[in-house]
């Protein structure tokens, strides 16, 4: 499974990077590789079954927290 993930990402890199290099888009290349790396990291985590936090839950906590801080009643 991990192998497939790596393969997929490798494919994307192979497909995207050459044109960037050819046009000397170094800045874009940096950004691209950063995001790709993050994506790869998260995907690997997911495939390894690491529990990542849920967005909605986090936002709910944040906003209710804010609401209480501001002394409003939470939605």
């Amino acid at each position: 499974m991990i192998f497939l993930v790596i393969l997929g990402f490798g494919l994307i890199v192979v497909v995207e990077v050459p044109s960037l290099i050819r046009r000397q888009y170094w800045r874009e290349l940096v950004v691209f590789s950063f995001f790709i790396f993050v994506g790869l990291l998260l995907t690997v985590f997911l495939t390894l079954g690491v529990e990542l936090p849920y967005i909605d839950v986090g936002l709910t906590k944040l906003i209710t927290g804010l609401g209480e801080a501001l002394g409003l009643k939470p939605g």
Binding site: L4, G8, L11, V15, S19
Partner: protein, 398 residues
């Protein structure tokens, strides 16, 4: 530009192809690997509260149709019966459904299930635990018909229909053609569930039974069961059932038989359609309902010798018919009030028509309903006489 764009295209397809190679076909269910369930019967098992669910499965091989060109339908096993009755036990319905696959070589496919037949005991204990799976799961259809039976549900499903190869389809058609007699209260799963959510209205379901002739057994819709929330508590006979249908405005066809005073023989008047209008009045804290039923029909048959084709005779008949209808409705009302079950949905009319009053009474509607006074007014018409002006008989014979 073009080049890079096109290159993007190629890239995507490459990705897609790889994706497909990686992927199998998860949800594929081959048509010939399906056990097409047409009817479900629900009984209690012998011991305790676990269910015995019986599935009527169509043996597609046996159901010979012009479309099918493949010879002697494969796995069916030469049995001439075109359906297979499969019984399985389980703590819950879903459990039983999955346990069924211990016996069946094919995956049970519920999407084409037509009827759910539920044993009386189960109905008296409450239907909700039974129907929840049927609503929650994506496979069963919401417009499958619910029926109650005094027999074991499996016996009903094991009955042969006179005409159809698959009896469940026959039952479904019975339900669809309820209006021919207007003595069946046909309710499908969705309607039942919807009514369960209603604050005041109570459910009614048809009761199916077995009719025995000397050599063979057939099925028949006997009467209608009254529910309090999801529990079966009472019954309406055929007459009362039609009374209910009159109020619900579901009477579209059928026959009203009246006797002419002073003449022997009967006259059967065909119903061409009826509308009902329910209005609620509140005066000095008492709630009154008025049910107006407007009916149009024709002279269907006469077994008496009188010549009825005169206006006054017809209006007489109209009055007689009106009387019969009133009787039917009042009978139904009486039964409903005995059961404290507002099967007509009068409460909702109250809610729509005068909201405040409803707000007050909605919580003890069950207690209030039996003491409601309901006025029934029926207007009937006889517009057509069939193809005869007068009985085909010479006056002087009689």
């Amino acid at each position: 530009m073009t080049r890079s764009v096109v290159y993007v295209v190629k890239k995507k397809w490459v990705l897609l192809v790889i994706l497909l190679l990686l992927s199998g076909c998860w949800d594929r269910k081959e048509l010939e690997k399906l056990a097409i369930v047409t009817g479900i019967g629900i009984d209690y098992g012998e011991e305790g509260d676990d269910y015995q669910v019986s599935f009527q499965i169509a043996r597609s091989g046996e159901v010979k149709t012009p479309g099918s060109s493949s010879q002697d339908g494969g796995g069916g096993g030469g049995g001439s019966k075109s359906v297979w009755l499969l019984k399985s036990k389980g703590a819950t319905i879903f459990d039983a459904v999955r346990n069924a696959t211990l016996q069946s070589s094919r995956r049970l496919f519920l999407s084409h299930n037509q009827v759910v037949i539920i044993n009386k005991e189960v109905a008296e204990k409450g239907l909700l635990p039974v129907i929840d799976f049927l609503i929650r799961d994506h496979e069963p259809r919401l417009n499958e018909w619910l029926l109650i039976t005094r027999e074991q549900a499996e016996t009903i499903l094991s009955l042969e229909s006179g005409l159809e190869k698959i009896s469940a389809l026959a039952i479904a058609d019975l339900m669809r053609n309820y209006y021919l007699s207007s003595k069946i209260r046909a309710v499908n799963l969705h309607e039942f569930a919807g009514t369960l959510l209603a604050k005041t209205t109570e459910n009614t379901l048809p009761i199916i039974g077995v009719v025995k002739t000397d050599q063979e057994k057939g099925m028949v819709i006997e009467e209608t069961g009254i529910f309090k929330s999801d529990k079966l508590i009472g019954y309406l006979n055929k007459k009362e059932t039609r009374g209910l249908l009159w109020v619900l405005g579901k009477t579209q066809d059928g026959v009203v038989v009246v006797e002419l005073p002073g003449e022997e023989g009967k006259v059967s008047l065909e119903i061409f359609g009826a509308k009902s209008k329910i209005s609620s009045k509140v005066s000095e804290g008492k709630i009154r309902f008025e049910i107006d039923i407007a009916e149009v029909g024709s002279l269907g048959e006469q077994t008496s010798y009188a010549n009825l084709s005169s206006r006054e005779k017809l209006s007489l008949l109209e009055n007689l018919k009106a009387k019969v209808i009133v009787e039917e409705v009042e009978a139904a009302l009486k039964k409903a009030q005995e059961c404290k079950a507002d099967i007509f949905g009068l409460g909702e009319y109250l809610q729509r028509q005068n909201r405040k009053e409803w707000e007050k009474v909605k919580d003890n509607w069950g207690e209030l309903f039996p003491h409601l006074e309901v006025k029934v007014k029926v207007k009937t018409k006889i517009r057509w006489l069939g193809l005869l002006t007068k009985p085909t008989i010479l006056e002087q014979i009689k």
